[in-house]
């Protein structure tokens, strides 16, 4: 009796697993296989879950006859620059918050939470006017500046929790051995927080790669627009060219998906340490 109950429970659990897997994976699978389908096979009933006549025509079209490659290039550039600058600024700040006791420490960390909680959409109007005044509309500097700013708070929280986990004795030992403050930071602490830095970099890159509304507001030239805007414009301009659109969508999904699979562990550790713990 007990054993059969256990088997039934396991079977039911796996049925649920399968349903969940399908619910979340099927849409992404569907758009990906569509991008490899021959135009003649794209609109058939009933839907085909395989690719009858695989073709790379849509990909050739997207990569050589549209503006999408510029968008992908811009997104990569914006992403890497933001990761670099935001990472450096956040690591410095996190170290300061973790290792020094000062009156404003806690209030400033709370201030960081407030800025992190603001939805991007509430800032687009003032950001637009401000960038217009600074003559930074339609520039990489303007967009990247904002992206760095929205990624710092969370990065500081995550990295601080990683620094906090390193005992202060270590700093002292290094100090006694003749290491300066900066030397301790660079040579002793930073190497120990590599997992945190990886987590922060991946999270920041995702947030840049996926960002839409700020880029929509602050850029209008194709030459500097990121992939997300390119994708949207492509959709509205080309109307119903589903083949190339599904390709561009598949590429846009593929890059972060692969990064996620590689860095999953770091990513989740970072997300949860920043959001749940304190």
């Amino acid at each position: 009796m007990k054993k059969s109950q256990k088997i039934i429970k396991t079977v039911i659990t796996y049925v649920f697993y399968a349903a969940v897997f399908l619910l979340f994976f099927a849409p992404i699978y569907w758009v990906t296989i569509t991008s490899f389908k021959d135009p003649g096979d794209m609109f058939v009933y009933p839907p085909q879950w395989y690719i009858p006549n695989p073709t790379l025509d849509h990909y050739k079209k997207v990569l050589f006859q549209t503006m999408m490659p510029i968008g992908f290039r811009n997104s990569l550039f914006i992403g890497f620059t933001t990761v670099l600058v935001a990472g450096i600024l956040s690591a410095l700040a996190a170290y300061g918050f973790s290792r020094y006791r000062f009156k404003a420490n806690q209030p400033l960390m709370l201030f960081l939470i407030i800025t992190k909680m603001l939805p991007a959409s509430v800032l687009i109007v003032p950001l637009y006017v401000m960038m217009n005044n600074f003559r930074m509309l339609d520039t990489f500097q303007g967009l990247i500046g904002v992206y760095i700013s929205i990624n710092i708070p969370f990065s500081v929280w995550i990295l601080k929790s990683f620094f906090d986990a390193i005992p202060a004795d270590l700093d002292e030992a290094a100090y006694i051995d003749g290491c300066s403050t900066v030397g301790t930071f660079l040579k002793v602490l930073l190497p120990l927080t590599v997992p945190g830095i990886v987590a922060v970099s991946v999270i920041t890159f995702f947030s840049c790669w996926n960002e839409f509304i700020i880029a929509l507001t602050l850029t209008s030239r194709t030459a500097i627009q990121p992939m997300s805007i390119g994708l949207y414009t492509f959709m509205t301009e080309q109307g119903v060219q589903w083949g190339p659109i599904t390709c561009a969508t598949a590429i846009a999904i593929f890059i972060p998906a692969v990064l996620f699979l590689i860095f999953q562990r770091y990513f989740i550790a970072g997300m949860t340490s920043g959001a749940v713990k304190g």
Partner: protein, 291 residues
């Protein structure tokens, strides 16, 4: 001197990051208050006049504004409840690690790391009207007639479902982390005392998860109020203005009708809503940290 330098060394570490945030987040934050009392027009940049609270008065008298508030409320309530319940159910389902469960876990989290705009387009493709749309084709197998998922009557419901689908990973991840922090011996002790699965859930899981729940709920609520991408990609606020929630209406007023001042006033309204929620969040957060 050396000692003083060492004492204030933290300034050197934290100042660059804080300064950056002040320029790109705090300054626009306060600037929106100023803009909201001007009649700044996108076509005449730099020529704004102070008009007091006129924008706010106009909003109060604007039916479309109240409509967008109503839609935002409906959207937020259903998305928050849906995302929270679904996310928690999934977290419970995957709490115990079994062979192949990583596959389910990973697939749940996937929608969260890929561009919302790409997912919006993916869903647009799946939700196509007529029987060539994937969803309609699948439902046809069960005898459900094809329908237009983004029509006037259906658009809001569809949006809520898609937004929940995209938001669930975040909830799932936080709740999973919360569940894993509950000490296993609590469950064991309860089992020995003869508590069944339902009792263990009600008397251990729920109380232990209380603060995770609260934090999670507030975070979802704030992000839902400012939600923009999927709605913009799927419906653009339409048909007519059936899905024109507050952020969409603000965007349209400011950038399609050039009324930046009016848009700023709406931004201030949204700021206040999210600030109040953030303050609640912080009180909860602090309470949890101290306990």
């Amino acid at each position: 001197m050396q000692k003083l330098l060492h004492k204030y060394a933290y300034v050197f570490f934290i100042a660059p990051a804080l300064l950056w945030i002040c320029i790109f987040t705090v300054y626009p934050f306060f600037y929106s208050f100023y803009l909201s009392v001007t009649d700044l027009n996108l076509m005449y940049m730099g020529q704004e006049n102070l008009i007091g609270l006129q924008n706010y008065a106009d909003l109060l008298a604007d039916e479309e504004f109240w409509n967008s508030i109503r839609l935002s409320l409906i959207f937020s309530i259903f998305v928050v409840i849906g995302q929270f319940c679904f996310g928690f159910a999934l977290a419970c389902l995957f709490q115990k690690s079994r062979p192949l469960s990583w596959l389910g876990r990973t697939s749940v989290m996937l929608p969260w790391v890929v561009p919302p705009i790409a997912l919006g387009l993916t869903w647009k493709w799946i939700l196509r009207s007529g029987k060539l749309g994937l969803l309609n084709a699948l439902l046809l197998n069960f005898g459900v007639a094809p329908r237009d998922w983004l029509s006037l009557d259906n658009a809001m419901t569809t949006l809520i479902f898609v937004t929940v689908w995209i938001g669930v990973p975040f909830t799932f991840m936080l709740e999973m982390a919360g569940l894993q922090k509950i000490p296993a011996d609590l469950y064991e002790a309860a089992s020995i005392d003869g508590a069944g699965a339902i009792n263990r859930f009600l008397h251990i899981t729920i109380p232990m998860m209380k603060s995770t729940f609260l934090i999670n709920l507030i975070m979802i609520t704030i992000s839902t109020i400012g939600y923009f991408d999927i709605i913009y990609a799927l419906t653009g606020g339409g048909p007519k203005n059936a899905t024109e929630v507050l952020p969409l209406y603000m965007y349209h007023s400011a950038f399609n009708f050039y009324q930046l001042g009016r848009g700023a006033a709406m931004a201030v309204v949204m700021l206040f809503i999210s600030l109040i929620l953030t303050l609640i969040y912080m009180v909860v957060f602090k309470g949890e940290k101290n306990s």
